[in-house]
Amino acid sequence: MYVAVKGGERAIDAAHEWLAEERRGDAAVPELTVPQIREQMALAVNRVMAEGSLYDPDLAALAIKQARGDLIEAIFLIRAYRTTLPRLGHSAPVDTGAMRCDRRISATFKDVPGGQVLGPTFDYTHRLLDFALEAEGEAPRAREAEPRREPTPRVTEFLNKDGLIQDEPRTDATPPDMTREPMEYPAGRPLRLQALTRGDEGFVLGMAYSTQRGYGRNHPFVGELRIGAVEVEMEVPELGFPVCIGELTLTECETVNQFAGSKLEPAQFTRGYGLVFGQTERKAISMALVDRALRWEELGEENIGAPAQDEEFVLAHSDNIQGTGFLEHIKLPHYVDFQSELELVRKMRAEALGTAKFKEAAE
C-alpha cells in the first residue's frame, strides 16, 4: 500500500548528523586541525583559494576540513561565503614585477638576469612513495641562501626591447567584474582571464592540453614562470597615497608563442598570460595556453573550430561550481517530467502498434 512520502525533513536532519560523524572519521585517530591543513595541505589550500576567488588560507583550510577533502565542495563553501562579503574598495593592480620570487624559471633562455630559481618544486623529484613519511620524524630543514633584494626583471621585456614580441597595450580602464555583471559574449580578454583564473583546474588543463595536441595549436614556450609574494596596495581617500594592506602569493606565467606574421605585420612572438592565487603552476601555465588560444581573432589567426578557440564554450563551462551543481541536480526528483514522458512514449507506442496492426490487416 502506498505510504505518502513524508518525513523529508527528518531524513535531511539525520543525513546531516551522519555526515558530521563520517567527517570526523574514527574517533580514536586524532582530529585534524585547521592550521595543520593550512600548513601541510598547502597546495590544496591554494587551489581552493584560487577557484574560490578568495585569498584566505585559514578559511580555505576550514572549508577543506568541512568538505572532507572534497576540493570542489570546499571551493563551493568559499564562494558562498565570499558572495556575502561587503566590498570595501579596490586595490591597486599588484606589481608582479616586484614579486619576491620563491621560484622563477624561464624555458626560453639558458640563463636570464635574476637567475633561474627552482624553488620548492616537485619537478625533479622521482615519484617514489616515501614510506618514511608514514613515521613521524623531525621537521626537515632546507639550506638557505641570501635572498635577492632587487626586483626580478621580466623575460618577455627582453624580447620586447627588440620588438620581437607583440606589445600589450596599457590601459587604466576599470576591468569588468564577472561576479557583479552577467556574462555577455563576446566577453573580451579581461573577463576571459577572470573566468580562467577561477575556472576548474582540470577543465583549464584539459583545454590547454587539447591545444598542445593540435586542437588550436599555438606553439607555446614558457617565457617565464614566477611564484612569490606581492604586496597589495590600496588607495585610501583620506590619505591620498596608496598604502600596503597585505601580501598575496601568486603564480604568474607568461608564454611566448610563435606567430607567422601577415602581409601587414612582420613575424613577431605573441603572448599568453596566466595569473593565479597561491603556488598553482599547473593552473597558471594552462591558463596562459588557453588565453593565447582564445586570442585567435585579435591576432588575425584562423579559427579551426577547436574547442579552446571558442570563447563561449570555454567560459560557459569552466566554472566547476556551476558545472557540479547542474550535473548533480539530476539527483533531485524529476518524476513529474518523467511521468509526462512516460505517458507520451506509451501513447506513441500505442499509436505505432495500432498502425502496424492496421497495415497487417490491410495486407
Partner: protein
C-alpha cells in the same frame, strides 16, 4: 554561522535592488530573458538558486511562503528551501496554495487556480527555449531579437514527421503575447494552460543568469500546428487517494509484480480533497468508519 550575520532573506539590499530591477524589466517585456548578475548562493547551482534569489528579492516580513517540488511540499529540496527562508527571513510558511502570498515551485503549477496578489516563482534550469536547437547564446539572442523562430517550428514539424506527434512532454515551448518564445521551465505540458493566470509569474535561472516573467493575464500560447493541436495530457486515471479525475498524477510503483497506483502530484490539493471527504479507489477502508 550566526543567522544575524545575514540580511533579511539572506541577500543584501543592493543585490535585491539589482534583482528587482531585472524583475520589473522582465514584467515590462513579458517572455524576454533579462540578464542579471546572479549571486553564488549557499545551495548548489541547478538546485533552485535562481528561484531562491527571486523569492528573496520579493519577500517581505508579512509574506506567507509555500515551496513545492514536483507539486509536493514534502520533497527534500522543497523542505530544504523552505527551511532556508524560515531561517533567514523568518517568514510564515504554509502548505496551502490559497494561503500563500509567494509560492516557489519546481516542475509544477498548483492545481488550484492562483489569484491576484499571489506570486509564483519558478526555478529554471535552462531558460533558453532554443538552446537545444542552437547551443550558442550569441546566436539565440539574435534569433529572439529578430523573432526568428523558424528553427523551433521545423523541430516540432520533424517530431510529427518522425513520431506522428510533438515529442515534447515537459518544458513545452510557448509564445508570449504573440512575441517571445519562452521556456515555461520543466513543467509537464499538462500545466501549460495554467500559465495564463491572475497571479504574477516570475522565472529565475541562477546559473544561466536570466530572469523572465509573465504579468497577470498575459496571453500564453503553446506552440502547435492547426492539424496537430496542442494537447495538455495526463495519465488516463483518477487519483487513487482522492478520486480526482482532472489533476496531474504521479505513477507510484507499489510492488515488484507490476502493481502501481496513481496519485495527485499536488499534495496539498489531494490532502484538501481527502479532508473534504473525497475518496479514491485505494483509499484506506478504515477511514469510512
Amino acid at each position: 554561522m550566526t543567522d544575524q550575520a545575514y540580511n533579511f532573506a539572506y541577500l543584501d539590499e543592493q543585490t535585491k535592488r539589482m534583482i528587482r530591477r531585472a524583475l520589473l524589466k522582465a514584467l515590462a517585456v513579458p517572455g524576454y530573458q533579462v540578464p542579471f548578475a546572479s549571486r553564488e548562493m549557499p545551495m548548489p547551482y541547478g538546485w533552485g538558486t535562481g528561484g531562491v534569489q527571486v523569492t528573496a528579492a520579493c519577500l517581505t516580513p508579512e509574506d506567507r511562503l509555500k515551496v513545492i517540488d514536483q507539486g509536493a511540499d514534502d520533497t527534500t529540496n522543497a523542505v530544504s528551501i523552505r527551511k532556508f527562508f524560515e531561517r533567514t527571513a523568518e517568514v510564515e510558511t504554509t502548505e496551502h496554495t490559497a494561503e500563500a502570498t509567494v509560492i516557489q515551485t519546481r516542475h509544477r503549477i498548483p492545481e488550484q487556480p492562483l489569484e491576484e496578489g499571489q506570486i509564483l516563482v519558478y526555478q529554471v534550469p535552462i531558460p533558453e527555449p532554443l538552446r537545444f536547437l542552437e547551443p550558442r547564446e550569441t546566436e539565440t539572442r539574435k534569433m529572439h531579437a529578430l523573432e526568428e523562430y523558424g528553427l523551433m517550428h521545423v523541430k516540432l514539424y520533424e517530431d510529427i514527421a518522425h513520431n506522428g506527434a510533438i515529442s515534447t512532454a515537459y518544458a513545452y515551448p510557448v509564445k508570449v503575447e504573440g512575441r517571445y518564445v519562452m521556456d515555461p521551465s520543466p513543467i509537464p505540458k499538462f500545466d501549460n494552460p495554467k500559465l495564463e493566470s491572475a497571479a504574477i509569474q516570475l522565472f529565475g535561472a541562477g546559473r544561466e543568469q536570466r530572469i523572465y516573467a509573465l504579468p497577470p493575464h498575459t496571453k500564453v500560447v503553446s506552440l502547435d500546428f492547426e492539424d496537430h493541436p496542442f494537447e495538455a495530457s495526463k495519465a488516463d486515471h483518477d487519483c487513487d487517494l482522492c478520486g480526482c479525475g482532472s489533476s496531474y498524477l504521479d505513477e507510484v510503483i507499489t510492488d515488484d509484480a507490476g502493481g502501481r497506483m496513481f496519485v495527485c502530484s499536488d499534495t496539498d490539493f489531494c490532502a484538501t480533497r481527502q479532508a473534504e471527504g473525497h475518496r479514491g479507489a485505494l483509499s484506506p477502508q478504515e477511514e469510512y468508519a
